[in-house]
Amino acid sequence: MFRDPRRIDIAKILAPVALATLLVACGGEPTTSTGGEGSGLSGEIAVDGSSTVFPIAQAVAEDFQIENPEVKVSVGFAGTGGGFEAFCAGDTQISNASRAIEPEEADCLKKAGIGYTEFQIGVDGLAIVTHPDTEWVDCITFEQLQAIYAPGSKVETWKDVDPSWPDEPLKIFGPDPDSGTYDYFAEEVADPDAEEPATRDDMTQSADDNVLVQGVEGEQASIGYFGFAYYQENVQGLKVIEVDDGESGCVEPSAETVKSNTYPLSRPLFFYVANDAIEQDVVAQFVNFWVANSADYATAVGYIEVSQDAELANDEALTQLTG
């Protein structure tokens, strides 16, 4: 029979595709850096929320999954506000926050029937940073920060803030409104008297603190603020500015000053877990793991560990929850 050479055997095409699919599907699990003993624990945990707490959560999730290879933890950084929204919608079991939960968010959870427990797992010093070449400022007061960041602020140059500073344009960076860091800074510094504190918005805002670091590092005469850990990670490229709240003089953020509360912009870091979720073994173990090692993870990432009292409170809450 004459066979048209132009015709293709469908089988010849499908076979390699099928083979490839088979290979990928049956490809074994990748080796982890330390061979986990396969604890048998399995399940999924969805974590989201503060980008400040994200590095801690990521570190905890990483190590937890190495020890329990069958567990899947996904960690997002939608911001404290965004995290609570997902938490209230039931999309996540654990919500990270760089501020305490707000009344509206608590209401939402109440309406949704989601009981929750708060754990404080670190302390952050909110760092005010600038480009290393910005030599004229070593210390900045609350008033000056407010002048720069208040909503509707018209400050454009460093000179506008303080006449002794040069007439250089201010390049301003800060987190966006989904961020707990934003909330805290607005309430403490930029807009303390308002009912709904806010900061100015004609600046570069990003929920991704890495973008802020890149921005401050990359622009002369820049100013920005974010969690202390992000400063610690990028010490060479940033200059930290001491803060004066008008009472205790200029204080530089460090582990000691934050822990002892002498640094005026210290704030607690939390995660919230849904009480129902704790019934799942995987979530209970994860929470246990985090709380038990909270000091290690907080400091490893660049933050400060919680006080003894807070640790005791955590233990109590944990026993109440799981006991």
């Binding site: 911001g79 965004g82 909503p151 989904d178 990003s206 890149q214 921005g215 990359g218 622009e219």
Partner: protein, 301 residues
């Protein structure tokens, strides 16, 4: 071709044949469903959004600050526009020049090498162009010219975007030029014109519709592009003229909000759909225009 009908069909095959035809029609109809889906999705959330925000304010104000409830889109439009203009300043002249060279001057073996390379350039994902902007264009190029350029600036975004759409403009223009019949060229040469004159005064005007179509398509792609501009230009919605300044495009804003997972129904969530509708309208307009020019070109030849 589909209109010929033949009566030599075997009757027993009919039911299966009809079923297959219906299934295939379903596939084709599905594509219509996608368009319907896009329009419906965009419209619904956009309308909800404009229930909360005045559409006049949206279109005319230049103050984009969602947290204080201000949704004047002009700042984001500026970001998109200035980067698109910058990109076309790069891709337009270079693309058309490349097309002229490839179609009129280049020997066959040069074409064989250059065309695939241009195709590769077109196939590089735009994330990579963003990386390129951040790691090479800004530090090496922009900072060489303006030493205190910010790390996020629209100049590098425009440059990199121009590189991205260059192959599109070049290859479409080249197709248009190659389609010009040789007889026209021969006529020009026969009258004693130089190659340059023939290319510029004969071929290019003849291929004009096609070239214009290519340019319009380039603009459309630049407007809709997301990743390169998000990485390179930063996130500052402002009307700034200096290429060293950071701006935010409509697409970059959508990524910022959607990545932050604003809740359904919130005004911010609605704003990304309003912007999406704006983008869709703009690119639809540009694409239709481009197709019209292509049709006009094809009619002539």
């Amino acid at each position: 071709m589909a209109t010929e009908t033949f009566t030599l069909t075997s009757h027993r095959k009919r039911p299966v044949e009809r079923a297959i035809k219906i299934a295939l029609f379903g596939c084709a109809a599905f594509s219509v469903l996608i368009t319907v889906g896009i329009i419906y999705t965009l419209l619904v959330d956009t309308i909800t959004f404009f229930g909360n925000v005045s559409i006049v304010d949206f279109l005319t104000k230049a103050n984009w600050s969602p947290q204080s409830g201000s949704f004047g889109v002009l700042e984001l439009v500026w970001g998109t526009m200035i980067i698109t203009v910058g990109a076309m300043l790069v891709a337009g002249p270079l693309g058309v020049a490349t097309a002229v060279y490839l179609s009129e001057y280049a020997p066959a073996r040069v074409r064989r090498v250059v065309k695939p390379i241009l195709e590769i350039l077109a196939g590089v994902p735009t994330v990579v162009f963003g990386y390129f902007a951040l790691n090479f264009i800004t530090p090496e190029l922009m900072r060489a010219i303006y030493s205190d350029c910010g790390i996020f600036n629209w100049g590098s975004a425009a440059l990199v975007l121009g590189l991205f759409i260059l192959p599109t403009v070049a290859s479409l223009s080249e197709d248009a030029m190659r389609a010009v019949p040789s007889s026209l060229r021969q006529a020009g040469y026969g009258l004693g014109s130089s190659k340059l004159r023939v290319s510029m005064r004969v071929v290019l005007p003849a291929a004009l519709s096609g070239v214009v179509a290519a340019l319009i398509l380039g603009i459309s792609r630049a407007v809709g592009e997301t990743m390169a501009v998000t990485i390179a230009a930063g996130a500052t919605p402002q009307i700034a003229f200096s290429p060293c300044a950071s701006v935010q495009t409509m697409t970059a804003y959508i990524v910022q909000v959607a990545g932050g997972e604003a809740s359904t129904g919130s005004v911010e969530y609605g704003s990304i759909f309003a912007l999406g509708s704006t983008l869709f309208a703009i690119t639809l307009l540009l694409n239709s225009l481009s197709i019209r020019f292509v049709k006009r070109f094809r009619e002539v030849y």
